[in-house]
């Protein structure tokens, strides 16, 4: 008989089962898929930020040897485009077209597509497409886009304001407060203006697609790296006007998704349509330049905040205006990320009086949409910089100011004026643990003595919340978010007692296959080697409407637990019959079905019962043969991961270079399924966050509207040599809402990274009064601030 030690898997650092094939070169990515007869697509993209397309002469391209077809907007008659999933009230809708219809609105927008024998030939044909562009005035700055007389990106919308949304909003539960009163009462009013830079996932593997239309069976198989395959299936079928039952999405290994792969893209339609026209497999692999221009960007916001404080450091009120640079089209989630910024900006603090206007603004830039963190990191940048500015103004230590305003451990559930209900946490404890780990008092003392030696050391604190585990579907409905928030799981026990688990989640680096196998093995109390996880095929796996899987293990894990509860109950019923006992006297434990109190004598293995379930010779009356169950779990509430990070840096005031001294993380993601994977996710998300804090930026030229950072020599992704050693600690406050107490944590690391860095740099330069209010904090920008401050 196995022992409990070997059958409980939650909390174990099981090695990633995904790793062996990936590390040993047996991963299979889109580029590896090439069915017989495949032809290749290349896409002509607008070289202009804003230009009318008066005509496209395709004759020379079509005449080139090896070219099969050219698609322009004229060929898309009767083809739909992908709707915005999140349609907030008042949001003017403008879907992203598959090919620019009469007007190109950003550099990189698809204008035409060519299919040829090879990618080389297809690109030769692109050279021969003659587009009659009429160049229009462009705008790549949000304030300029809102000014009178600005070029209008989408004439159908009237102007460039997509939406103005005011918090407290639709689900604020009556905690609007009295914002004017708070500011009248304040001893100090602190202001800040923040530019959160535009950057994105920039995955190692660019996007790619292979579409296979079978004209005899009338089926379309699309190989895609989408992280939400079932939603892509639904929407693609609708756009193409074919039954959803005809569409199968297969997902191979994904070399990074980071939210960018949550969105639906024009190319999904273009390769499918081309395959349907030609009756051949059509393949498109995004090249790096396309990936930087045409995979969605993220983050970019201009924020203005005012904070009302009393002289003892109590934050009385917060009001702000967030201008979100949406780019040229609303993509799959509309202004969703900016909405989340407004919802999350009060962070861990008891700020009773809150007001925030979120404005979605159209510009001639790549659409700004889903990206790891989804508005949260932007919110943390504003509020955490504001807390440091306030601390400095009031002469209170920034750690102390935070401590005085934090929601206390006994105040949950906490109804935030941003609209979210925080489920649980212990914010002061996380702060205290972070300060202890970084040896805060000692570092502060050293800071003084080092400064006398010309070493400018700074300490930056950033606390955060990450609302994850989206979400109860009914709440998504209230938010006009047109998909469900559930995850389904099917578990089948085979006749030998091993489990196969089918999930709609897509593993994209976060270890879904391993963690779900752990949960299943733990609940069945069997060896993890006896659990197989099946994913990546819409013909086999349950529907998921959400799939932002970095933060979804918590929801999917509950679906697994619930499905296995049903299996165990059935195993007990069948087992009771075999053991000739009353089902009430039989229990499932240690992977066995046993009569209570007689476990040594009257006991069956799961395999014994499973075999009987398949033979079905002696099933209880009314019991169905086989041993499987499906459960679709719709979460009862969001979960709120939280924590505090502390960055310690040295700034070279002659060059603006930032050197890492230390980086301490205290995270609280509730019950941890796999500590090894959690640590990896924290490191990855932090690298992602610090990348945007220091290096990564999509820069547009005001004069020409061109994307200047369109190669990886201009858009700088961090490598490990650019990052500090992360010292990671955990608190565990299980979520009271979810079975198992799990919270999502795959994105959390990117939330506090940028404000921790900016606060540290500003702290290092406090003698000069330098404020670091723009990301990324590049050496050139930082030196310019130092220079202006007379340093």
């Amino acid at each position: 008989m196995t022992t409990t030690q070997e059958t409980r898997w939650i909390g174990v650092s099981a090695p990633r089962r995904e790793d062996a094939p990936l590390i040993r070169g047996r991963g299979r990515y889109i580029a590896d898929i090439e069915p017989a007869g495949t032809v290749h697509m290349a896409i002509l993209r607008s070289p202009y930020a804003h230009a009318r397309i008066n005509g496209i002469d395709t004759a020379a391209a079509e005449a080139l040897d090896g070219v099969y077809c050219v698609l322009t907007a004229a060929d898309l008659e009767g083809i739909g485009d992908f709707p915005t999933i999140w349609r907030l009230p008042g949001q003017k809708e403008s879907n992203t077209p598959a090919l620019a219809p009469g007007k190109a609105r950003y550099v990189g927008e698809p204008v035409a597509a060519v299919v040829a024998d090879s990618r080389y030939m297809a690109e030769d044909a692109l050279d021969l497409l003659d587009v009659d562009y009429e160049i229009l005035d462009h705008v790549v700055d949000v304030e300029a886009a809102l000014a009178d007389g600005a070029p209008v990106i989408n004439e159908d919308l009237g102007d460039n304001t997509i939406i103005e949304y005011t918090f407290p909003g639709i689900n604020a539960l009556g905690v609007a407060g009295d914002i004017d009163g708070a500011f009248e009462e304040a001893d100090e009013i602190v202001s800040g203006r923040f530019k959160v830079g535009r950057y994105s996932g920039v995955a190692l593997e660019t996007r790619g697609l292979v579409a296979e239309w079978d004209d005899l069976r009338q089926t379309l198989t699309l190989h895609s790296g989408s992280q939400v395959a079932s939603l892509l299936r639904t929407e693609l079928a609708a756009a193409l006007g074919i039954p959803e039952t005809s569409v199968r999405i297969l997902t191979p290994n994904i070399g990074g998704a980071f939210g960018n792969q949550w969105d639906r893209y024009p190319e999904d339609i273009l390769v499918s349509l081309a395959s349907m026209k030609l009756g051949r497999p059509v393949k498109w692999i995004e090249d790096r330049r396309e990936a930087l221009q045409a995979t969605v960007h993220g983050r970019e916001q201009l924020q203005e905040w005012q904070l009302a404080a009393s002289s003892d450091g109590t934050v009385l009120g917060l009001k702000g205006r967030v201008l979100s640079d949406q780019g040229a089209h609303l993509h799959s989630v509309g202004i969703g990320p900016a909405w989340v910024t407004g919802a999350a900006a009060v962070n861990q603090y008891k700020i009773a009086n809150y007001h925030c206007d979120v404005v979605g603004v159209a510009t001639n830039k790549t659409p700004n949409s889903t990206f790891r963190g989804f508005g949260g990191p932007e919110a943390m940048f504003g509020i955490e910089r504001m807390m440091d500015k306030t601390a400095r103004r009031l002469g209170i230590d920034p750690a102390e100011l935070r401590r005085r305003n934090m929601i206390q451990a006994d105040e949950f559930p906490y109804f935030s004026p941003g609209g979210a209900v925080y489920d649980s946490g212990n914010y002061p404890a996380a702060l205290a643990k972070a300060l202890e780990a970084v040896e805060y008092d000692k570092v502060r003392e050293e800071q003084q003595s080092l400064r006398e030696q010309g070493v400018y050391r700074g300490i930056g604190i950033a606390s955060y919340i990450h609302v994850s585990g989206f979400g109860p579907s009914a709440i998504l409905g209230i938010l006009d978010y047109y998909t469900g928030g559930y995850e389904g799981s099917t578990v089948k026990i085979d006749p030998h007692g091993r489990a196969t688990l089918y999930t709609g989640m897509i593993p994209m680096g976060q270890g879904t296959e391993t963690t779900l196998a752990q949960v299943a093995a733990d609940q069945l109390e069997i060896d993890i080697a006896n659990v197989r996880v099946v994913w990546g095929d819409t013909d086999q796996t349950p529907y998921t409407g959400f799939g932002s899987a970095g933060s979804r293990s918590n929801v999917a894990a509950v679906a697994v637990i619930k499905a296995i509860e049903e299996i165990k109950a059935k195993a007990v019923r069948i087992g009771a019959g075999l053991l000739e006992a009353d089902p009430d006297d039989v229990a499932y434990a240690d992977g066995r079905i046993s009569v209570k109190g007689a476990e040594e004598m009257r006991s069956l293995t799961l395999a014994d019962v499973a075999q009987q379930a398949y033979w079905a010779h002696k099933l209880p009356e009314g019991e169905q043969p086989t041993l499987e169950a499906t459960y679709v779990y719709d979460p009862a509430n969001f979960t709120t991961a939280c924590g505090t990070h502390v960055a310690v840096v040295d700034v070279d005031i002659d060059t603006g270079k930032i050197d890492w001294v230390k980086y301490v993380v205290v995270d609280d993601a509730g019950t941890i399924i796999n500590p090894l994977l959690v640590e990896g996710q924290i490191q990855g998300a932090l690298s992602n966050g610090l990348g945007g804090a220091m290096l990564e930026e999509f820069v547009y030229d005001e004069e020409t509207g061109q994307l200047l950072s369109s190669t990886l020599m201009d858009y700088l992704v961090p490598s490990f040599t650019d990052l500090p050693d992360f010292e990671i600690h955990h608190l565990v406050t299980p979520s009271p809402h979810t079975e198992g107490g799990f919270k999502g944590m795959g994105e959390a690391g990117c939330f506090p990274a940028a404000p921790a860095l900016a606060n540290a740099v500003a702290d290092a330069l406090s003698h000069l009064g330098v404020e670091v209010d723009q990301t990324p904090v590049t050496p050139s920008r930082l030196w310019s601030l130092i220079d202006q401050a007379g340093g």
Binding site: T655, L695, T721, P779, W783, S784
Partner: protein, 290 residues
């Protein structure tokens, strides 16, 4: 990102190569290590009708230290950086090579390719300028010797070599007795093209600077820094002379702006890096990034 159509030749000798260049002229492009040209081909920024791949021309790959240092143009950067002969003759070269790209790039990239491509942010054109190097250029008509400054002038992404000339050798005169060097560059990440960098070689008679050769990169083109050099020659080594040289270097530097930094910032960096390179030279401590 696939190149346009081109014809391809893979000659095995210098003579064969210069004949091909004579035949194809401006339509031809020489492929050395390919670390810059291949991306340009893939972006279709370069569309040569004919690509002449000299990776099989073994006679272009050598390092000879008899008298002046002579280096074949196809010598890989890794070989250059690891050569004992080069390190003994001019230790600034391995210090600079260590800052070029990453190992994989250095394994493939060549000294001649770097000079012929003449990226204004590349280390070697400036370093070789500071060392008063010369290059030999061969064509079907013969051979000529060109000084580094004459090769580069104020050009970027091209040199004064003609369409039918092949850069074959780099010759570097022996260092003066008692010379020391400093090499500093500033890149946002290790291995990136530098925003600015300075190569400095100075000779002292104990306390007075008798010779100074400084060159900068990261602006619009690689350049010597004559104002900085003038501020140093005849001056006592030390903070005052170095500060004057830094200011002079900033004045000489043809600065430029891009996504990584403004022209003002780059000029300021040249000042700071010049001072640090000179401190390194005075302290015989080499150099690095920052």
């Amino acid at each position: 990102m696939k190149p346009a159509v081109f014809d391809y030749s893979a000659p095995e000798s210098i003579a064969e190569t210069v004949d091909l260049l004579a035949e194809h002229g401006s339509g031809a492009k020489v492929l050395a290590g390919g670390q810059s040209l291949v991306p340009m081909l893939n972006f279709r920024l370069a569309r040569p009708a004919h690509l002449i791949d000299v990776n099989g021309v073994d006679e272009l790959s050598y390092i000879s230290a008899n008298g002046a240092l002579r280096i074949g143009s196809m010598t890989r950067l890794t070989a250059l950086g690891e050569s004992g002969d080069v390190a003994r003759a001019h230790p600034i070269i391995p210090a600079a090579v260590a800052q070029i790209g990453h190992r994989a790039i250095r394994n493939r990239g060549t000294i001649g390719g770097s000079l012929a491509h003449n990226d204004p942010a590349a280390e070697l054109p400036a370093v070789l300028m500071a060392l008063d190097a010369e290059v030999t250029a061969r064509s079907a008509d013969g051979e000529r010797v060109v000084g580094m400054q004459e090769l580069i002038e104020d050009r970027l992404f091209e040199t004064t070599l003609g369409d039918t000339e092949l850069l074959t050798e780099i010759r570097i005169p022996a260092a003066a007795a008692g010379s020391s060097f400093g090499f500093r560059e500033f890149a946002r990440r290790h291995g990136d093209f530098a925003l600015a960098g300075v190569a400095a070689v100075i000779t002292t008679d104990g306390s007075t600077i008798t010779q100074a050769a400084l060159a900068a990169f990261g602006g619009t083109h690689a350049t010597r820094l004559p104002t900085a050099e003038a501020a140093l020659v005849g001056a006592e080594t030390g903070d005052a002379a170095f500060a004057a040289a830094g200011a002079g270097a900033a004045a000489d530097f043809p600065s430029t702006s891009d996504v990584h930094g403004t022209a003002d910032y780059r000029s300021h960096l040249i000042n700071v890096l010049t001072v640090r390179a000179l401190q390194d030279a005075a302290g015989n401590s080499g150099g690095g990034n920052g």
